[in-house]
Subunit: 551 residues, 2 copies
């Protein structure tokens, strides 16, 4: 009962009360601090940090024989108690996590997993599948209640099982984390091309369960277009969906598992479509005069079918912050600003990043076409510097949340997607909902936004907002919950999707019937009943309508 | 009860006992006839044609008030009795259709459709949704049995409802046929880009219900990638799935409806992703020395990500027939053959067609890249002639089946798909299964094949086979059924999908559990029970395991 193998197979220890690895951080730059102080005031009280000495785990409920390795170690239970959304960070830091799992199970194969699920059905356990534990939707939190909770760490299902180079199909265990996937494929000259912000920590199974989209989804597609086949072990049966390039043999069962968030079963393995790793990669930065012209430029690039791998357009506030934090540090910044003003780029300007991969000549050709479409929108190049910056930091941004909490400031993100024709309205509606009627300093909420993951018919909007974090953990979470409810109501009312890549979890679940419709929601519930007749699996995510934002 | 409006809103009358429009045909060329005679012998007895004078429709069972227009006209019932697979043609020609629908209903809107489904539930009717009626899998055939059968012609749900040019999203009624879709979009400079062989007759709803793939799926994607949102009316509820570019809000309900074949409900409307119509289109033809090098060349083109819209590679027998029928007619054919032999292109050579669309310079650039990849495989250009030929005839090929039946010869097609690494085995296994142990002339089955709809990880194989058609309709169908069973067993055993774009219908349904797995199959049945609790909808397709090949 002491196997501490984690799904994060790095040698580096994971932080118990924040994002990522111990010793890693993303400092709040003086420029950002100035920017925030100007809006939120400069006096705020730091949230306390987690004190391992003072931590006393509640006694675990007795758990029956599970048929696989399992641990009841207090810190192991704490490490598997919560995801990494804002309320998780608050409760972890302040030692107020209401419920820990009673055991952390580590099945080594599908037979052991099946035994575990059998035991769960027999003894009424609650099972939470755990990949990297990076959910920001309450998707892996131990459910409160009397029933014993067993969180299932899928680290035992890790690694490359086989690679069919001819077809570009790689079979991986679902517990494999991003870097290990790319390392195994890179050795053979391939890439999966899936790079969500959580990439260093999160797992293939987690990506599939939450319909993840990586930062280069424009070039490589979302996770659902990469899955050729997969295996799912469920209490009510087992799905072994063969790897096929396409099929007309009935509804696509893969697409039922994609987005099922551990509610229908545990994903153990997937056959992924992989590609030859591109020789080179380039990210170019540019400025457009304002948000509207940037959205138009983005749309024209995508609808022209350019072979870009990435597009990201910051709105003016996000651009201001990015320039203050990044470009602002450069010695030639004042000169650059003067030159940009001459080119018609003023304070409303928006930063755009464009990525492409391949041979140098193909990348050149792609950007040549891109600039033909960009120039009419008044775009001005910033060169490759900001892109290098972004590439270097792209998996480190979540650490900023912890650094800000150390200063008593909170930041959170949320995202949606909609057709191009609704994006303007959606952008304004969510911004308004978050900013609210902040007359008092305590209620001011600066909001940043970027457009990313563009499609021919629409794009994602990703919002980042800041607020002064009340020192009392429950008050902090209640404040966050009010903002989250307002923003989610606004998203749904404006015709955006409830989530573009974070998933539903338990926090978005009350709004799911709005998007799926009552009949659609009931159809999903019926599926859950078929695959998990006694409801032992992740019962609070996806199909539980209770508002659990403050749990 | 006499509204004869059909979902085929052309002025042209439809043939009652064969494919397509009255007066249209595709003649059997002397060259093809010679080719067939050399293999099947030249004496065969024509299947009789349908005799409308002799046709006596069985008395329809009494049908209650349906809440919408409905017809019990004998010819209308016959016109909606069967799809257009081989057994359908045989039984229609010989007047041996065992079951006609008792009425043809024509709801004008969703309210009428809902009334019809309510009546069906109340009175135990069997409902068959009908788009273009071109199913080749027994997907729209009136089910035998005592329960009254009402076939629902969806012609009332036809036309473009709205077009969002900014997002490239067009809302169409599900009963809209291909030419009407392209005409409505073409007026505004757009195209859907979905061109299945049945395009002139089949409907958007039918394409969605059967997970159709058009001939240009390489460029435009399969129908499932084109559907942004859709509406489904079912006895157990109604799905109104919003048009979104992407979402992580749970399993994708669109993908449940796609491929549901009328078993889960009736698709009434869909929001489709459309694109600017390309300025130009070009199809180039070439020969490769043999099948293996052609497959390799195809794979290299697709995995390089070339912006082709179409790729089609015929095997040596299909190339021989194509050359005999098409290229062979040209006066310079002997000269061309001599030249090709000099270039190393002999009797094993395989014809490849490549399509691309866009501006002339982009098309040039695409083919320039293509030829860089093709030359190492020994490819020799045949220019644009064969491609023009193919474009002109691409929707007319199904008429050939009727012309052959007039001569006592049968032809049928079937298709599958698999990863590249399994294609060689699949190709040989299906060919062997169809050709069988044909020692007697009656048992000889010449088989042609082409690779099409290539993906990065695999491709479709499309088989065409011929046999002497027994004059007795039951014997003809039994002979076909033996071949179909052998081929389907071979496909499934070789790891191909049961269908790449024809669907499951009732003929493939016994094999579906093999591909979906028992648990997957049960999950689909559970969904059917949720949306259609009394099983009134198309009860014999998709989830009925009975072998109905000879019905």
């Amino acid at each position: 009962m002491s196997d501490k193998k984690s799904s994060i197979d790095s040698k580096r220890a994971l932080r118990l009360d924040g994002w990522g690895f111990v010793g890693e951080s993303f400092a709040v730059s003086p420029a950002l601090l100035d920017w925030l102080a100007a809006r939120l005031g400069d006096k705020s009280e730091a949230l306390p940090s987690f004190d391992p000495e003072a931590f006393r785990a509640p006694e675990p409920a007795p758990v029956p024989e599970l048929g696989c390795a399992a641990s009841t170690d207090a810190f192991d239970r704490l490490a598997h108690a919560r995801g990494r959304g804002f309320p998780d960070l608050v409760h972890l830091r302040s030692g107020t996590v209401a419920r820990l799992p009673d055991a952390v199970a580590r099945p080594g194969d599908e037979t052991e997993l099946q035994s575990l699920l059998d035991a769960a059905q027999k003894h009424g356990l609650r099972i939470v599948p755990w990949g990297g534990g990076t959910s920001v939707t309450g998707g892996v939190n131990a459910p409160a209640g009397a029933a014993p909770v067993v969180t299932v760490d899928l680290g035992g299902f890790s690694g490359l099982e086989s690679l069919d180079e001819e077809s570009g199909l790689a079979v991986f265990g679902a517990g494999t984390i991003g870097p290990r996937i790319e390392a195994a494929l890179g050795d053979r000259g391939f890439t999966l091309g899936h790079f969500p912000q959580s990439w260093e920590l999160s797992t293939l199974g987690g990506w599939i369960a939450t319909r993840s989209a990586g930062q280069e989804s424009l070039g490589y597609g979302r996770i659902e277009s990469m899955v050729a086949g997969l295996d799912l072990t469920a209490p009510g049966g087992r799905l072994e969906i063969p790897a096929l390039p396409a099929s007309a043999a009935g509804p696509d069962l893969r697409q039922l598992v994609l987005g099922s968030e551990g509610r229908f079963g545990v994903i153990t393995r997937a056959t992924m479509r992989v590609r030859r790793r591109p020789e080179h990669q380039r990210v170019e930065a540019l400025l457009v005069p304002d948000w509207a012209s940037g959205v138009e430029a983005s749309r024209s690039l995508v609808q022209a079918g350019l072979p870009l791998s990435m597009l990201r357009l910051s709105d003016a506030p996000e651009t201001e912050v990015a320039m203050a934090v990044g470009l602002g540090k450069s010695a030639w910044a004042p000169l650059a600003r003067a030159w940009l003003r001459l080119r018609g780029i003023g304070t409303n300007s928006c930063l755009m990043l464009l990525g492409a991969g391949g041979t140098p000549s193909r990348i050149d050709a792609c950007f040549e076409r891109a600039w033909t479409l960009l120039r009419p929108h008044g775009a001005v190049s910033l060169g490759a510097g900001p892109g290098r910056h972004w590439l270097a930091d792209r998996f480190r941004h979540p650490y900023l949340r912890d650094s800000l909490l150390d200063l008593g400031l909170a930041t959170e993100t949320l995202e949606t997607a909609a057709p191009w024709s609704r994006l303007g309205h959606l952008y304004r509606a969510v911004g308004r909902a978050l900013a609210g009627s902040g007359s008092r300093r305590e209620l001011v909420v600066p909001v940043l936004c970027h457009l990313s993951h563009p499609y021919r018919d629409g794009a994602s909007l990703y919002f980042t907002f800041f607020f002064r974090c009340p020192r009392d953990p429950d008050e902090a979470v209640a404040h966050w919950a009010r903002l989250k409810r307002r923003a989610t109501d606004a998203i749904v009312a404006a015709g955006g999707t409830l989530s573009h890549h974070h998933g539903v979890g338990s926090w978005h679940a009350p709004w799911l019937p709005h998007e799926a419709g009552e009949s659609g929601w009931r159809a999903l519930r019926r599926l859950a009943q078929e695959l998990d007749p006694r409801g032992v699996l992740n019962s609070r995510v996806l199909l539980d309508r209770t508002d659990r934002l403050e749990e």
